[in-house]
């Protein structure tokens, strides 16, 4: 079922060897965090105009990680086959997350060859490029 059993020459002990490598990675991240801190001291992130419920800005943009979904929502026509475009734009991400959620149960057979691996890699690259393209489109529009 699971592959806990390994030959001893293929493994390292969790402590101290594996913990040491993780520690080096943590040190690297910590170095980046400190550089961010210095940048923040020199140039603070800052804050925009105070919130004013009576004054709507011209362009409202979500954070960059919601931009792709927001762009899909914006580009769907107002009415599609008698359904409001807004509803479709909301249902699409929910269905996508649901699909990702149940994916291991849809694709449960163990890999037999490296071909399926390359297919998944190509699909992942395609998905990333699509999301990045949508995000850039949302950023410039």
């Amino acid at each position: 079922m699971s592959d806990i059993e390994h030959n001893t020459e293929d493994t390292i002990p969790f402590f101290p060897d594996h913990v040491k490598t993780e520690f080096y990675v943590v040190l690297g991240v910590l170095a980046v965090v400190l550089i961010i801190a210095i940048a923040g001291l020199i140039k603070p992130i800052g804050i925009g105009e105070p919130a004013d419920p009576l004054n709507t800005p011209l362009h409202v943009k979500p954070e960059w990680y919601f931009l792709a979904l927001y762009q899909i929502l914006k580009k769907i026509p107002a009415m599609v086959l008698g359904v409001q475009g807004k509803v479709i734009g909301v249902v699409i991400p929910i269905v996508l997350v649901g699909l990702i959620f149940v994916w291991p149960f849809l694709d449960s057979k163990p890999d037999k060859s490296r071909r399926i691996y390359w297919i998944r890699l190509a699909f992942a690259i395609f998905a990333v490029i699509a999301i990045i393209a949508l995000t850039i489109w949302g950023e410039v529009s």
Binding site: S2, D3, I4, T8, D10, T11, I12, P13, F14, F15, H18, E22, Y24, V25, V26, L27, V29, A31, V33, L34, I35, I36, A37, I38, G40, L41, I42, P44, I45, G46, I47, G48, E49, P50, A51, D52, P53, N55, T56, P57, V60, K61, P62, Y65, F66, K86, V87, G89, V90, F101, W103, P104, D107, S108, P110, R114, Y117, R120, A124, V128
Partner: protein, 337 residues
């Protein structure tokens, strides 16, 4: 030894950390600019200082000590004698060192008299605990668990980086929560206060801001790695499920945290975001009213988002992270094809 070995990377990282700490500490004076000199600091509400408390109940107000008795904790570094605290700290430090010295003399003498083998204090403490609770054997089993060598490739560290960034977010988030005020009158001013007055406030806020973005990037990268390598397959379905839930929770963190500065961008992004949630079929209005606490984005929304951001979502994230790690621990790291 390869040129870019892990050890050299670690040494470089430590060097960067040391230099970074030095620069950070040497530039901290910037954070202590007096209130009157800083034009960017515009308090919106005038009554968020001590003034209100002082007028209502004068007997509860503690008057600050005169400068000579100020408990300035950094003064002994600068060589300034300030009242009681500097000598007290000095006596505590040197007194404890002296006690340790005396203890060492006594122990050395006793081992010399009895000819019993020398055991360091740490070993004695460990033996004392192990004698009572018998933890050494299970602890050794946990710590010496074999990890496959293929798990040393760099793409296996993405999930660990995400977890570490979550810890960073927790620490900086607690520090920010000490100064942040989740009311529409004070939220904006408290962010300005953090940015201009609090020691290292802008640094802490920058870390919290950028590590939030980094956490989402790392989360997605980890998920792509698992997807590409097919590590989600039987028997690790539940691991994938908890991982997707953790990604959703991270996005909820981002969405709720975005409102907290209470500036124009935050306010209108939340307005539009909750409006989109309101378009969900069947439960749309329910979701909208739950998010906004009413039909409009108000101070109640800010309170709710603050509660979600600092209590509900962190607790859920910690719970799912624990489950995620325990399942990895039990099943081992998936074997690549």
């Amino acid at each position: 030894m390869r040129f870019f070995s892990l050890k050299r990377f670690g040494m470089l990282a430590m060097l960067v950390i040391a230099v970074g700490l030095l620069i950070l500490i040497s530039t901290h004076a910037r954070a202590n600019t007096p209130l009157t000199d800083d034009r960017s600091y515009v308090p919106i509400s005038p009554n968020w200082a001590l003034a209100e408390v002082e007028s209502s109940s004068p007997q509860l107000v503690v008057t600050p000590p005169p400068p000579t008795e100020d408990p300035c904790l950094s003064c002994h570094i600068l060589g300034q004698n300030k009242g009681l605290w500097t000598p007290l700290a000095r006596w505590t430090l040197f007194g404890s060192l002296g006690l340790l010295f005396v203890f060492g003399i006594v122990r050395s003498a006793s081992t010399w008299v009895t000819r019993s083998p020398w055991k360091p204090l740490t070993n004695r403490a460990a033996d004392w605990v192990d004698d009572r609770y018998k933890i050494s054997e299970p602890l050794t089993k946990i710590l010496k668990k074999p990890v496959p060598k293929y798990a040393l490739h760099w793409w296996y560290c993405l999930g660990g980086i995400t977890a570490f960034l979550f810890v960073v977010q927790g620490i900086t988030g607690i520090l920010l929560a000490f100064y942040y005020k989740p009311t529409p009158e004070a939220a904006y001013a408290s962010i300005q206060y953090i940015e201009t007055q609090v020691y290292f406030g802008s640094a802490i806020r920058a870390i919290h801001h950028w590590c939030a973005n980094g956490m989402i990037v790392m989360c997605v990268a980890h998920m792509l790695r698992v997807f590409i390598m097919g590590a989600y397959k039987r028997p690790r379905e539940l691991n994938w499920l908890s991982g997707v839930l953790l990604l959703v929770l991270t996005l909820v963190f981002g969405f709720t945290g975005y409102l907290l500065p209470w500036d124009q961008r935050a306010f209108w992004a939340t307005t539009v975001g909750s409006e989109i949630a309101g378009a969900i079929p069947a439960i749309g209005n329910l979701a909208l009213v739950f998010l906004r606490v009413g039909w409009n984005v108000t101070g109640e929304t800010l309170s709710r988002f603050y509660g979600l951001h600092v209590i509900v979502v962190p607790l859920a994230t910690v719970a799912f992270m624990g489950a995620h790690f325990l399942m990895i621990r039990r099943q081992g790291i998936a074997k690549p094809l």
